[in-house]
Assembly symmetry: C2
Homo-oligomer: 336 residues x 2
């Protein structure tokens, strides 16, 4: 770090991460250090008013404790209209057409930007991850598959923020139904939900197998992705074969993205990346198998994310600071 | 058109289109009008030296007849290194690492840009097609499937020109082998080559069917995509079903692209678009079926290209003029 980098590293913003199960807030330094954190469960009836109150509560508390913050950044699951910061729709929540940016700016007077959660996580990885990246894709493999794209160092959103829905590229049109209603999306084949579905099928096919046996000891008595992971780690060939299938689908999707874009790296985040090579080894093999003209174009490297659960708040704060820096003084309510 | 538009419409460039079967050159006005044309077959042994001589011959002849041209633009099949204008590799040609930009600039003294053929065709469609478009994809469906992407009015190439290989996104990893060596690329399922392959299978399955019958009257006695097209137009249900399959695969690929990007339109060019709704109706149906969150994101419109075989030379000339205008005087050999 240069001395200039150190000095700018002292600038701080509030980062907020709106997810289906919790809303996380943090005060974050420009170098990615989290100084304070505050997390609340997403209200069970996640309508716009109730969720808005929770978000505002977290924000005002962090702002009161840290009046030195320069900006607010928000990462939210779902379709976020850019640059207006209107959350149009989220697959697992009840809020609709929620004007998050305006609400937070009115309440705090701070310049605010709102973006998709995978977009801001991609920004955190590209700017502060293991390697500095300008052209990269982040895929978060958890309950679903989220995607963020950086092209030439900038988040690609499309003209109004509806782009980069990478989890819904179609990798098998005759494949299983996705949460979005379509069939064969990457999310339907390479997510935690897919692992659970495949694990349940495997347990039904072989009630004496390790997956079914482990599941009987689970609190609910049913197979989850966690059950399959434990079975695979104990050497169960059925569970390992499920990871090979899951990882292969992930790699097929990555190969397509690497053929569509020109990428330095693909970074994998989300809960499932904690399974390490169970997921990543078959993904790398498939990404190599389906790479176009690998002798000329190379094969895209695939690595685990540097940031875990904090990628959302860190990336959101980073985006907030970048936009506060690029907007003119006194114009913070304008278009970032 | 304003009077300024009319005046700038008078600027002219040489557009060149390097394909697997022919090399086309033209003098083109900024408004897309072709003033002169010169076409030669691509040399049978399409090595760098021989093909280079043919290209230079066309260029010098057009330049001698039209000394008023301001620039040269080239669209070439294959992987073109940007901005250096080095054709690294083309799937159906023998030339490799061919420094086209430098060769043409040295021979003519004119500022020159070299890009992928589908990229320049996309530019022609976006700037001069039926609708002015800033965010669009062009797919050329011919022997293969080529792709060009415009984002925010600019061609997306990736940092060194290796991006936008849309024909090699994987739509069916267990599908047929592609010319590139992989399996289940869009090009392997939704191209003229795929139509020929499916038509031959259908003729083998039903030697008394219309496809097989029509093929016996063909010069070579074998099924081509043209045979299947004629059978479909004569109402043959087998041939029509093949188009439905082909168009569906095209629509699946388009749906993925519409979920990955945020597009105003997808434009279809290439030889197969002349089959009209035989191809486009099933493509539109599948693009609608696999659209993500269509209530919020909409469904991307799919239309035929405005330019036919001339898209390459027109788009190439247009790119040449845009770069000549943006480069400083006396700096034409520099990075465009």
């Amino acid at each position: 770090m240069t001395s200039v980098g150190h000095r700018t590293g002292e600038r701080r913003a509030i980062g907020l991460d709106i997810g289906g199960t919790k809303i996380a807030g943090a005060v974050v330094r420009e170098d990615g250090t989290v100084i304070a954190e505050l997390t609340r469960p997403t209200p069970e009836h996640s309508d716009t008013t109730t969720t808005g109150k929770t978000l505002l509560g977290i924000t005002e508390r962090l702002h009161a404790d840290h009046p030195e913050v320069l900006a607010i950044g928000v990462g939210a699951a779902g379709l976020v209209e850019w640059p207006h910061g209107l959350i149009r729709w989220a697959p697992n929540s009840a809020y609709r057409d929620w004007p998050v940016r305006v609400e937070l700016e009115d309440a705090t007077g701070l310049p605010t930007v709102v973006d998709n959660d995978a977009n801001v996580a991609a920004l955190a990885e590209a700017r502060l991850g293991a390697c500095r990246l300008r052209d990269m894709v982040l895929l978060t493999v958890g309950t679903g598959v989220g995607g963020g794209v950086l092209l030439g160092g900038r988040i690609y959103r499309g003209p109004t923020g509806r782009g980069a829905e990478l989890g819904h590229m179609v990798v098998d049109p005759d494949g299983p139904r996705c949460g979005c209603g379509n069939h064969g999306c990457l999310e339907a084949l390479a997510s935690g939900t897919a692992l659970t579905r495949m694990g349940r099928d495997a347990a039904a096919d072989d009630p004496d197998g390790l997956i079914a046996t482990l599941a009987r000891d689970e609190p609910g008595g049913t197979v989850t992705g966690e059950t399959v992971t434990r079975a695979a780690r104990q050497g169960d060939p059925t569970a390992q074969a499920l990871f090979t299938r899951l990882g292969r689908w992930l790699g097929v999707g990555i190969a397509s993205l690497a053929n569509i874009f020109e990428l330095e790296a693909v970074v994998i985040g989300g809960g499932l990346v904690e399974t390490g090579d169970l997921l990543l080894a078959p993904a790398r093999a498939a990404a190599r198998e389906f790479a176009y003209a690998p002798g000329v174009r190379g094969v895209v490297p695939i690595g685990p994310a540097t940031f875990g659960a904090e990628a959302g708040v860190v990336g959101a704060a980073l985006l907030g600071l970048e936009h506060a820096a690029s907007s003119r003084p006194g114009r913070h309510a304008g278009t970032p």
